[in-house]
């Protein structure tokens, strides 16, 4: 088991739906927990797969969330035009 890692996603920069989708996608590689703060969501990674490590997994997770957020923002912008 790998040590825990966390990533903080500011609410004005990331979409919650993107985080939730990423949590489903990465559920097989670690135990993920979501903490809801006033300004940000924090995702903690515990028991990450040894093959990847918690930090690498968390970084890949953050990239996934960012890409999903950007796509959702762009789709939303196209839909509102």
């Amino acid at each position: 088991m790998s040590a825990a890692a966390t990533r903080v996603f500011h609410k004005k920069l990331y979409k919650l739906a993107a985080i939730q989708e990423a949590m489903e996608a990465y559920a097989d590689f670690a135990t993920l927990s979501l903490e809801r703060g006033d300004e940000a969501w924090t995702v903690a990674f515990e028991g990450a797969d040894e093959e990847f490590g918690a930090e690498t997994l968390a970084s890949e997770f953050a990239n996934y969330v960012l890409a999903e957020t950007i796509q959702r923002v762009r789709q939303g912008a196209q839909g509102s035009e």
């Binding site: 500011h10 990331y14 953050a62 990239n63 960012l66 957020t69 923002v73």
Partner: protein, 171 residues
């Protein structure tokens, strides 16, 4: 502050600070998306500034990280220019797309083709210009004997042969 400020550039991690008023979020998204394949990108927000944390997937020294910061700055400018051009040409793009879609659905018919509808009552057998009339019949001298029937001339006159000579069999 006019350019991305480097807060940290060590241990394979680069942290930039961006003025939110100078770089809209859409521009930062666009630049960050470009770097996702070769680095881990995490955005943060402190007051009116947005921090961009870029951790390279491969090893990089400080010079490499500063070069990466320059690339990110260039990408920010590129995205900002792209966004501006898109906004300036928004009306033109919408007009072109709407006309293309309307044309595809048949809502708009070019005026040059509208006159063709008058010819629709013509049958395909009609020959108003006499094109189907054989040359021998059209320019045949009056009173002369009819041409010897050949494989091409021995046939019944068709609807397009109106006005042409039809042999009666008398000499």
């Amino acid at each position: 502050m006019t350019a991305p400020e480097i807060l940290t550039a060590k241990d394979g991690k680069l942290v930039l600070s961006l003025d939110k008023g100078l770089y809209p979020l859409e521009v930062i998204y666009g630049a960050a998306y470009i770097f996702i394949d070769r680095a881990y990108v995490l955005l943060g927000k402190v007051d009116d500034t947005i921090t961009v944390e870029i951790a390279v997937k491969d090893d990089a020294d400080e010079a490499g990280l500063r070069a990466l910061a320059g690339e990110f700055g260039n990408e920010l400018l590129s995205q900002a220019l792209r966004r501006r051009i898109t906004k300036e040409n928004q009306n033109i793009l919408e007009t072109i797309v709407s006309q293309a879609l309307a044309g595809a659905t048949g809502a708009m018919v070019p005026s040059a083709f509208e006159d063709d509808e008058d010819d629709d009552d013509l049958d395909f057998l009609d020959d108003p210009l006499g094109i189907a009339v054989p040359w021998e019949e059209r320019f045949k001298k009056r009173g002369s004997a009819p041409a010897q029937p050949g494989p091409d001339t021995e046939r019944d006159a068709g609807p397009g042969d109106s006005g042409g000579f039809k042999p009666t069999g008398e000499k």
